[in-house]
Amino acid sequence: MENAGYCNDSFSSLQSGTSDEDMVEIAGATLDFSSTDDVPPLDRDYVSGYPAYGSGTDCTNGAPKLMDLLDEPLPGVGTYEDFNTIDWVREKSKDRDRHREIASKSKESTWALMKSVSDAFSGWLLMLLIGLMSGALAGGIDISAHWMTDLKDGVCLNGFWFNHEHCCWNSNETTFVERDRCPQWKTWAELILGTAEGSFAYIVNYLMYVCWALLFAFLAVSLVRAFAPYACGSGIPEIKTILSGFIIRGYLGKWTLVIKTITLVLAVSSGLSLGKEGPLVHVACCCGNILCHVFTKYRKNEAKRREVLSAAAAVGVSVAFGAPIGGVLFSLEEVSYYFPLKTLWRSFFAALVAAFTLRSINPFGNSRLVLFYVEFHSPWHLLELVPFVLLGIFGGLWGAFFIRANIAWCRRRKTTRLGHYPVLEVLLVTAVTALLAFPNEYTRMSTSELISELFNDCTPLDSSKLCDYINSNETKSSNELPDRPAGLNVYMAMWQLALALVFKMVITVVTFGMKVPSGLFIPSMAVGAIAGRLLGVGMEQLAYYHHDWVIFRGWCSPGADCITPGLYAMVGAAACLGGVTRMTVSLVVIMFELTGGLEYIVPLMAAAMTSKWVADALGREGIYEAHIRLNGYPFLEAKEEFSHKTLAMDVMRPRRSDPPLSVLTQDSMSVEDVETLIAETSYSGFPVVVSHESQRLVGFVLRRDLTISIENARRRQDGIVSTSRVFFTEYIPPQPPSSPAPLKLRPIMDLSPFTVTDQTAMEIVVDIFRKLGLRQCLVTHNGRLLGIITKKDILKHMAQMANRDPDSILFN
């Protein structure tokens, strides 16, 4: 039941080389998987440790591939290079074979039965572990980030580990107006100067704020640079690419996890305009990848591992927002490439476990998962859909503007000298952010707090500036405020918010993509929330002062509470986030899980749809796809439609002017010929034909497998020299006694490569690539091999059709 080339059951030690656990010393050969060349340097000492198979087992793998005289599977055959694409078909069939073997053996003995049961359970156990670990890490990140953010303001004398809110938790000195005042919390000015009032104290506070911000940012970028350069940025574009089959070794490794966790806290605390949701997805996927190594089923199989990573992405969003369902939908819509139904159930389980773990760690001290929990349930009127749609349009415009500006800035960072000074860039941006953010109280507070304050509607119990409405002297018994004219403080707050809006819009463009972990959910939501709140308060005042207008007369009589600015803030946040990321269903679900307001689904949907339409009209792709395209990853977009009328022969290689296709023949090449062919070309695979004249297709063999097999054969098999014949046939004719021993390479050959005829429309070819996850596809004409189409060729072709630069596709 083993397919000799692809069955690798005894790779126990060596398959750790396919992992990102590069620190684990392999007991046998040490293969260096870190090179970006096509030919990995094989290392020296093979330990003759791996068990040989019992012979005579037959492989059933679609086409019967008999296990030949190659007794043991070679180390490294069936693994992939860094920055290459996996072969989904091969991985899936490997897994099916493994499962079949376990199922058929399970009837033999109790031990085998238990093995099969544990194999079935291993998926669920893995999900449980991922949920626990991610929840714990997210809780730790939240607690640390809260503390460090407040560290810029002052320190708690009760215990330095308390942030401002927790320091004053038990105090009796808090007043109605100043909810956070207590003698145990000392600002830096108080500690240094002894006073808390006065302009000198303000200057000292300002200075300390800027210094702390710079210190945190410097530490963050230095750690990233020194230990894990893959930990910068958001991580979601790369995870999308990894989930579509790409391999980036080290991207989801231990060190990346540690550094990303630690520097995320530093980056968020430094006051930069970034969020932690995208990096939390990366952290959760790292946890998923690391825990995969505990289970053989997932360690050895790249396709199964990607199922686990899809679930881990759902866990990431779930702990970031406290939205398990939204997380699963986010993984389905935004991040994953293939999402079978089994993954849906498992993702949900993992997301729930993570949410539960986070809740039990209780980072916010009130058993809530997220900061933005809103409690109002006031109804909205149909006429309010007009301002909601306006907010949607604003969100779409903001999304399109942000994507264009950010991509332009990142491209400049990639190509000009700006990119040579990453540390300096981070420090400069932090300095500018801190200097401009301190004077305005709405930018001085952390963005999450700002959003939370904007989402919450004003009740009689609030005393913030935003809620300073002119008091009419009646005290009603209900908990709601009727619409009232705004007091002076509200107007001031509006001005400050408008300035904050402009500031955030500009600074986020520059911040996203820097060499520290950065996410953009929270900044986008902040922009939208500010815009929404401004519009909401404007509507409220309009309704109060002009309650006799036709549009207000029916439903908004004076003294009634008809407009809730907090709702406008929520809708605005959803619109802006949707405009930037182009999320649809997952956005709505996340928003109503965030806020608990099921009544508000319709406004949220209206805003999200409008924002997506407007943004799509202005620019085709969301921010993550734009970054994928900027980096040239080989990501075949599953949502785009291929609408051109080209044929397979227009795209295939070799073109007319190219040298003919490099093929191997099934029985007429020597080892030396093969090695020359490998050395002269840089293709990652070669078709095998019957002979050069007939060009009838036999199979396809990968370069890496060829190299490994030939090197191994030279070392270990008797009599293999440069003039030995290489045979890909099933049956080797008897050799004359004077010729050297033949080399059988049939086991490493794929006997069922996918082929299309040259007249196949490219639409179908692209569809085949997408649905099956192919790397390459052979093109035949009248039954004879004509050429080859690889994924990279397709991507270049699509780029050409869209008038983009085809050379921007960098990887295979």
Partner: protein, 190 residues
């Protein structure tokens, strides 16, 4: 060899911290100071708004138990209490303490390790083994395809230690590769 120990120590430390955090949460005793009932009372007639905090349990968390001294008397108490909103909250100060201390110590360790790797190790190596034997320097190993040739003259103490050291050097080389592709050539991660 000391940086090998540091690396292993960091991994063990991580594991220990993780377990500590979990156990601290599970076994955290309910500190009396960690629960409170917070009542917010808005301005009412002549009385200003005020916030009352007390460490009472859930069943006692209402206006009558917490708002002491009552600013209004007699008949107005009920009306006053209707305006107030009382909420029960609890936290775990042990978890917060453990998390912050673990985080700070981890951060400190990493910073020390970084300083050691970037500043101290090359000088130490140079002093111990002579500059000519250094194949591997901190920067610019572009395209250095030869497998790591350990030409140092140090006697190999044991096979295991050698292999761990080898893995350590391999990790450092990988980090340098990553740094080149991310920071210098801007190939991955714009």
């Amino acid at each position: 060899m000391s940086h090998v120990c540091i690396n292993v120590c960091i991994q063990l430390y991580l594991l220990v911290c993780f377990l500590m955090i979990l156990s601290a949460e599970i076994s955290a005793a309910k500190n009396a100071e960690d629960i409170r009932c917070k009542c917010i009372c808005p301005p009412y007639k002549d009385v200003n708004g005020k916030i009352y905090n007390q460490n009472v349990s859930l069943k006692d968390c209402n206006c009558l138990h917490v708002v002491k001294p009552m600013p209004v008397e007699g008949k107005d108490v009920e009306a006053y209490c209707l305006h107030c909103e009382c909420r029960y909250e609890e936290r775990s100060s042990g978890t917060i303490k453990v998390t912050i201390i673990v985080y700070l110590s981890l951060l400190g360790l990493l910073l020390l390790y970084m300083v050691y790797l970037t500043l101290l190790e090359p000088t130490l190596k140079r002093r111990l083994f002579g500059h000519s034997q250094l194949i591997q320097s901190d920067d610019d190993d572009v395209g250095d395809r030869q497998p790591f040739g350990n030409t140092r003259d140090v006697p190999s103490h044991s096979n295991v230690l050698n292999k761990v050291e080898h893995a350590q050097q391999r990790w450092w080389r990988q980090v340098q590769e990553q740094r080149k592709s991310v920071f210098d050539r801007h190939v991955v991660l714009s």
